[in-house]
């Protein structure tokens, strides 16, 4: 074995950095390392725009934040997890403030808050509309203070090493040199984020390939609620760049081709000039994205070279508000669409944004596999249920990053140092090295390109498992994925070099994405109801009798999936009707 740590964290975004700091604070004697395929400040947390929700005002309450989250999640959230989340979110956010996060402020110097979709109270903290960027850089810069945190920047983890039902480390490739190393650990925390790249049109960065989800699934840890994929209602056509929900929270309107605020036709309330909480443009993301599809079917959207769009109208907000509260929206529109939201309508359409599902964890970030933890978008605790509310993901990665760090620290400290017999683990690691060196880097060219299979996978997912799904569409999608799975071993890798071989990484990511895509479609086929972001045209109603339950998908020894349905944890909020705008 080459390197040894007590705790290895895979991923250096918000959750990973928060977990690392939590480990050091809990137990400075532990050796902790972050392994990330990009430098930490490149992580996708950087792209979050609108804000982070946490109760801070006297007129707000933890129960109201919990209720908004649970009803927003269409009652699929585990309510004990939500209660812990809303309780700890303000403390975590204040720590971020103390660490230097440049939150936007009220005139008296207090942290400012703004409205957000699906929230009945004003509780979303923000740093203009670059909240994720500031949060990530604050965490990263603060983490530099802790010399105990070792970093493996630009290392790609290819496998979790598991023996006797316990995680013992990882195998990883250093990009710059191509060397393949075994890094052992008493506990591993997955913080690798989401998997938006399994779809063709996404706000997600190129690196969001579901690595941690697939690594856990292959290692025997189940994934939870994978059928719940969030479409954000306002992405820029072609690029998929996100226009933050804050644009609507500050008063932006969604208009169809007739200039009509069409959301009033979809049981989301009646239009008022200013923003109204839990109403119209401030409804939840699933309902808004579904309304777009209905509007498109009525022929009331606008045709563009990059598909159907509607318009986001910010003109009435004025240059001053846009420049102070939404500077990035203006910057992105000017740079990428050559339009100015101060005087032009912004074309937008729904875009894949976030995975509610992920590696199943308990309230402490622990997976059912001993020594394996997960936090952030890669994980499913679940506080997001069937539909995440905007501005809940940033506090989630803080709260559960810290929780996973503390739990992993406790677990690691209780393990003996020698760890017993390593021969089985080292054999696994040697097998993995052989796979990478001989089967992948040494592979002959002449077959299909990585991009060919990736593009077909993405198209299949959009057609079969998009905003609206049916047994028929998903069966076709599953067949397409099966066919791609069979073609995968023939994919070409023309690059046989060791130095920064991104073609090898892309091939590995493609394999991981196919596993994730299959788990999404398989879980979606079996859930015969419509709930939150999972809408079935053949089962249009929510079915609490059969499906007030999580989908827990395991990989069997032969590779086939097996799904169980453990019940949702209900504490104080029995299932009810989701009401918006009235």
């Amino acid at each position: 074995m080459t390197y040894t740590h007590d705790i290895v964290i895979v991923g250096g975004g918000g959750a990973g950095l928060r977990a690392a700091i939590a480990v050091v604070e809990a137990n400075p004697q532990l050796s902790v390392a972050i392994i990330s395929k990009v430098y930490p400040m490149r992580s996708h947390t950087v792209s979050a725009e609108g804000g982070a929700a946490a109760v801070i005002r006297a007129e707000d309450s933890l129960d109201e934040h919990a209720y908004d989250t649970i009803s927003g999640g269409d009652w699929l959230c585990d309510q004990d997890a939500v209660e812990a989340f809303v309780d700890e979110a303000p403390k975590e956010m204040l720590r971020l403030e103390n660490w230097g996060c440049p939150w936007s402020r009220e005139p008296d110097g207090r942290v400012a808050v703004r409205p957000f979709g699906g929230m009945k109270r004003i509780r979303t903290w923000f740093a203009a509309d670059k909240t994720g960027f500031h949060l990530l850089h604050t965490l990263f810069q603060t983490s530099l203070k802790y010399e105990e945190i070792a970093r493996y920047d630009e290392w790609f983890v290819t496998k979790l090493l598991v023996e006797d039902g316990r995680v013992r480390g990882v195998v990883a490739i250093e990009l710059s040199s191509g060397r393949i190393e075994t890094i052992t650990a008493k506990a591993v925390i997955l913080c690798t984020g989401g998997c938006g790249r399994v779809f063709p049109f996404t706000t997600n960065a190129n690196i969001k390939t579901g690595d941690g989800m697939a690594l856990a699934y292959r290692a025997g840890a189940p994934l939870k609620d994978m059928e719940f994929v969030q479409y954000h209602p306002t992405g820029l056509p072609f690029t998929g760049i996100l226009i933050t929900e804050a644009a609507r929270a500050e008063g932006g309107w969604l208009l169809n081709k007739d200039g009509y605020r069409y959301l009033q036709d979809y049981d989301l309330g009646t239009p008022q000039p200013g923003p109204v909480l839990r109403s119209m443009e401030l409804g939840p993301r699933d309902r808004l994205s579904q309304a777009f599809v209905k509007e498109m079917e009525k022929g009331r959207t606008i045709d563009t070279p990059y598909g159907q769009v509607v318009h986001l109208d910010l003109r009435h907000l004025g240059a001053k508000l846009i420049n102070t509260k939404l500077p990035m929206v203006r910057e992105l529109c000017l740079d990428y669409e050559k339009i100015d939201p101060v005087k032009d309508l912004v074309p937008v359409r729904p875009v894949v944004h976030y995975m509610m599902g992920g590696v199943s964890t308990d309230i402490h970030g622990a997976t059912p596999l001993d020594g394996l933890y997960a936090a952030g978008e890669v994980a499913c605790v679940s506080i997001n249920g069937a539909n995440r509310l905007g501005s809940n993901s940033l506090p989630e990665l803080l709260v559960f990053g810290a929780r996973a760090g503390r739990a992993a620290a406790e677990f690691a400290a209780a393990q003996p140092d020698d760890g017993g017999d390593w021969s089985g683990i080292l054999t696994q690691a040697e097998d993995e090295r052989r796979r990478l060196e001989r089967d992948l880097r040494g592979r002959e060219g002449g077959g299909e390109r990585v991009s060919t299979i990736r593009t077909e996978m993405q198209a299949a997912m959009e057609q079969g498992a998009g905003i609206y799904r049916s047994a028929d569409s998903m069966a076709k999608c599953a067949d397409a994925l099966q066919e791609l799975r069979e073609r995968l071993p023939g994919v070409s890798i023309d690059d046989h070099t060791t130095t920064f071989n991104t073609e090898l990484i892309a091939a590995l990511e493609l394999g991981l994405m196919l596993d994730v895509a299959e788990s999404i479609v398989h879980s979606a086929r079996l859930r015969e109801e419509s709930r939150g972001a999972h809408q079935r045209t053949d089962f249009p109603e929510r079915d609490d009798v059969r499906y007030l339950a999580h989908s827990l998908i395991h990989r069997s020894a032969d590779g086939s999936p097996r799904v169980e349905y453990p019940p949702v944890t209900i504490t104080r909020w029995p299932p009810g009707v989701r009401v918006y705008g009235r």
Partner: protein, 246 residues
């Protein structure tokens, strides 16, 4: 408008080549395509062996800085049509060792980050009950310097860094100032040694190329000039006051 444009791309694979060469590829010239879209077209359709870094493709992760027709640019926010009819030349960022193709080694910058202690330093031991109050005007004092995405364009543009790799450089100094000017911070004296050292602000001859190159209007040159004034005042104080004026 022509249908395609030639991209001349720097190639270097240290395992097999002694020095970099240029390779030409024809890519579609589309109105919405950034330089990065052209590179992705090459990688996906023409040549899978080309290596470069990219991620968010919305100008915020800082991964995709390269030299485009001689200037440091974020390739996701620089458009092919601005270089029509071409050819457009894409090379790695200057002033850094090249790892491979368009990928440079930024390890030196990563090490310098810690040197300027980019975190809030407090002299009081106890953590406050709630937030530190900070008025919008106090936020404005340092906000510009907090916008740096570490894209390295300023180091690539900086002639001083090109000559002397020990120079702390524009982004690291701007980041030090971001904390020095934050009303919540009490650590400016701790950062002074690094900033006032021979490799700190005094190395800068105020060429200003860093601020020209910066895609986020951070104005590192302004940060450096402002710190020179602070450092000079502090030095003067150390002569006049018995305990160094700190």
């Amino acid at each position: 408008m022509a249908r395609s444009i030639t991209m001349q791309v720097a190639r270097y694979r240290p395992d097999r080549e002694a020095e970099p060469t240029m390779q030409s590829y024809d890519v579609p010239l589309r109105k919405d395509w950034a330089i990065l879209d052209g590179l992705n077209h090459i990688k996906d359709e023409l040549d899978g062996t080309l290596s470069y870094r990219w991620s968010c493709r919305m100008g915020i992760c800082g991964s995709c800085g390269m030299t485009v027709n001689g200037e440091p640019k974020l390739t996701c926010a620089t458009f092919l049509t601005d270089y029509a009819p071409g050819p457009v030349r894409v090379e790695p960022l200057r002033n850094f060792p090249v790892v491979r193709d368009l990928v440079v080694d930024i390890g030196d910058f990563m090490a310098k980050l810690s040197v300027v202690q980019p975190w809030i330093i407090r002299k009081d031991e106890e953590t406050p009950d709630g937030e530190y109050l900070q008025t919008p005007a106090e936020l404005e004092d340092y906000k510009q310097f907090s916008m740096c995405i570490n894209c390295m364009l300023c180091y690539s543009a900086c002639p001083i860094y090109g000559l002397n790799e020990h120079f702390l450089g524009p982004a690291a100094i701007a980041l030090a100032q971001r904390y020095n000017l934050d009303s919540r911070d009490q650590g400016s004296a701790d950062r002074m040694d690094a900033l006032s050292a021979s490799t700190g602000v005094w190395d800068c001859t105020y060429v200003g190329e860093c601020s020209t190159a910066c895609p986020k209007n951070v104005d590192p040159a302004g940060a450096i000039q402002r710190y020179k004034l602070t450092a000079a005042t502090e030095t003067l104080k150390s002569f006049l006051m018995p305990r160094g004026g700190r």
